[in-house]
């Protein structure tokens, strides 16, 4: 069987996803996702629990096999563009009792370009140390990762992605369960990446901060409900489409065209987490 990839398909987009469908068993987790993320944006993937946010990222990265659809990055199939992609998985997805140091974890971000046999040398350690400095963790390079706090672990993960020197970053809930200082540090780094012309796509669970942090967003609930610039997508009608009637954004006076009648008093889990 000959499988031919098309080159320069939708090359104007940093990420182009078409017809992407994923199912575990009988129920689709993602249904017919079409997604076009322009380059140079800080994009949020937003949606309720179980909407398939992490699944979308993992499928784009080839960690989950889709039932249908294709993923193109800067006009070429993902498998050809892997070197352009950086990834920050959920912090809870790994065992932090692994016997290693913060610096060593960051160095793992360079394994892709080191190939099979070459070992990490002085140059790699220098770059890892630089990345640690960028996230404000230079003092913790030799610390065992088991002794780091949640926020520090998140910064280490971020540094590991920075050292990948990617063009398109995928981050799975980097701001979940970190303190305010770390959240600010992380968002500053994301904005810095954007100013360097990179594209950053972040699974984000906190509706309150979407318009403050991001300039592009996807509203997801199994289907791609709305996507585009935050000021166009972040409307009460769209949010209600994603979250149903349980949405409560009581404090958010800045939702455009928000009518009080649309907003019920039932507080969603997402909103609760922050309040």
């Amino acid at each position: 069987m000959i499988r031919q990839h098309v080159n320069n398909h939708e090359s104007g987009y940093a990420l182009h996803v078409e017809d992407l469908t994923v199912s575990y068993g009988t129920k689709p987790v993602l249904w017919d996702i079409d997604l076009n993320v322009p380059p140079g944006v800080l994009a949020a993937i937003v949606g309720p629990n179980g909407a398939g946010k992490s699944t979308l990222i993992k499928t784009v990265l080839g960690l989950i096999k889709p039932a249908a659809g294709h993923v193109y990055i800067h006009g070429k199939p993902y498998v050809k563009q892997r070197h352009l992609v950086g990834y920050v998985p959920q912090r809870s997805s790994v065992d932090w009792d692994f016997p290693t140091t913060a610096l060593d974890v960051v160095t793992m971000g360079l394994y892709g370009r080191l190939g099979w046999l070459r070992r990490a040398g002085r140059e790699e350690r220098r770059r890892a140390a630089n990345a640690l400095e960028q996230v404000g963790m230079e003092a913790f390079g030799n610390r065992q990762i088991s002794q780091l706090s949640g926020g520090q672990r998140q910064r280490v993960f971020l540094a590991r992605a920075l050292v990948q020197d990617a063009d398109l970053y995928f981050m799975d809930e980097p701001m979940a369960g970190v303190d305010a200082t770390t959240e600010r540090a992380i968002i500053n780094i994301l904005k810095e990446l954007r100013s360097l012309g990179k594209t950053v796509i972040v699974v984000h669970h906190d509706l309150q901060t979407v318009s403050q942090y991001f300039d592009w967003m996807l509203l997801l609930n199994v289907r791609a409900l709305a996507q585009g610039r935050v000021e166009d997508v972040y409307t009460a009608e769209n949010l209600q489409k994603a979250y149903g009637s349980q949405i409560a954004l009581l404090q958010n006076a800045d939702i455009p065209s928000a009518k009080k009648s649309v907003i019920s008093n039932e507080v969603s889990q997402e909103a609760l987490q922050k309040n």
């Binding site: 990265l61 960690l63 992609v85 990834y87 016997p99 290693t100 060593d104 394994y111």
Partner: protein, 378 residues
């Protein structure tokens, strides 16, 4: 001493010791990755499931030969491992439950086949039960050579694939995003574990084999700060338990080698759990005690501060008997610690009374600082 002398002279013991050492190295190295990937029970499943494989091989061939036995164990062990994977993929069962079920079903099947063969009055069946707990005496030089080759392959593989194995063990999703063929390498690792197990069956037996994978790795984890050191130390611990178990069993007739090796490995685990710096239980207990001590001195200091405040006298002398009755225990040691830090001094109030303590100005300030810290967190 006798054991060492007989080791040098007795050909058979030398085989067993060499075999046990090699088994320890290979299972220590491979076990480190299995433990870190939370797959230590996969080894147990593979080991138990190889029993019906051994029996099947015997039923087909009719005699007990090395190659069919190894092949049978490998094939059925692999089937068991895939059954576990299938159950996890296709049902809602979690890994531990799936492994538990597959392990017991295959082992039960093996025992049934073992009794069936036992009732057949076949002369060649003799010693098939030894696969349950291992029979070191039956090890031949050819077996040792095979074990040597397997250990060599395992070590070479780990050395060549080091970075890939490391990043897969820590963060397999990230490894996959780097383009590392995670699934294939995991299968390769599992195959190596299966091979190590099959090789160890003769020595340690199906029942205890898993502990050879788990124990050296778990013990090593206690002492190390890097994966490199963990794998090395696990190999050393594995070898140590193999050699000492084999030597101990040679001290007398009828001591089975397998269980002795496992006991030696367990002793190393025990020592590591207790004594390893930072992670050991003893270390933790010492730290807790020291912490308690600090807490108690701070408690006494702030209580003295409150008493002085109540009397509107920063220099208020408090009799030690009073301090003792406040806590219902002797406080001289804590007071002495406070004095050595310059936070209080001893004093005599009335001649017929006992010794008194008085806060120094430094102690008074320290107490104020502690109390301010406490309220700041509210």
């Amino acid at each position: 001493m006798d054991a060492i002398i007989s080791f040098l002279t007795d050909f058979n013991i030398r085989n067993v010791v060499l075999g046990a050492a090699l088994l320890g190295v290979s299972s220590g190295v491979l076990g480190s990755f299995a433990v870190l990937r939370r797959q230590s029970l996969l080894g147990d499943t593979l080991a138990h499931a190889s029993l019906p494989g051994v029996c099947l091989a015997f039923l087909i061939v009719g005699t007990r030969q090395a190659l069919p036995t190894v092949l049978g164990a490998l094939v059925v062990g692999t089937i068991a491992a895939f059954t576990v994977l299938l159950i996890i993929r296709r049902s809602r069962l979690k890994t531990d439950a799936a492994q538990g079920i597959v392990l017991s079903v295959f082992f039960a099947l093996g025992i049934v086949m073992l009794t069936f063969i036992g009732n057949q009055n076949n002369a060649g069946q003799a010693g098939l039960e030894s696969f349950l707990l291992g029979q070191a005496a039956s090890i031949l030089p050819a077996d040792v050579r095979l074990m040597f080759n397997i250990t060599l392959i395992a070590c070479a593989l780990v050395l060549v694939m080091w970075k890939a194995f490391k990043v897969i063990s820590f963060d397999s999703d990230f490894a996959a995003s780097l383009g590392i063929p995670v699934l294939n390498l995991e299968l390769l690792m599992t195959a190596m574990v299966a091979l190590a197990i099959v090789i160890g069956l003769q020595l340690v037996g199906v029942v205890l084999m898993a502990s050879m994978l788990i124990a050296p790795a778990v013990a090593a984890r206690q002492w190390v700060k890097s994966l490199e050191m963990m794998v090395l130390l696990a190999a050393v611990f594995g070898m140590l338990s193999g050699v000492s178990g084999a030597l101990l069993s040679s001290l007398g007739r009828g001591y089975s080698t397998g269980p002795l090796i496992v006991i030696c490995a367990s002793v190393i685990v025990m020592i590591s759990l207790f004594l390893a710096p930072e992670r050991g239980l003893l270390w933790a207990a010492i730290k807790r005690r020291r912490h308690h001590g600090v807490l108690r001195t701070r408690q006494v200091l702030t209580d003295m501060y409150h008493i002085a405040e109540e009397h509107n006298d920063k220099q208020y002398p408090i009799e030690i008997g009073m301090v003792n009755s406040l806590y219902g225990m002797r406080s001289e040691r804590v007071l002495e610690r406070l004095r050595s830090q310059g936070w209080l001094r001893y004093d005599q109030h009335m001649p017929e009374e006992g010794r008194h303590v008085v806060l120094t100005s430094g102690g008074y300030k320290e107490a104020e600082r502690i109390l301010k810290d406490l309220t700041k967190h509210d």
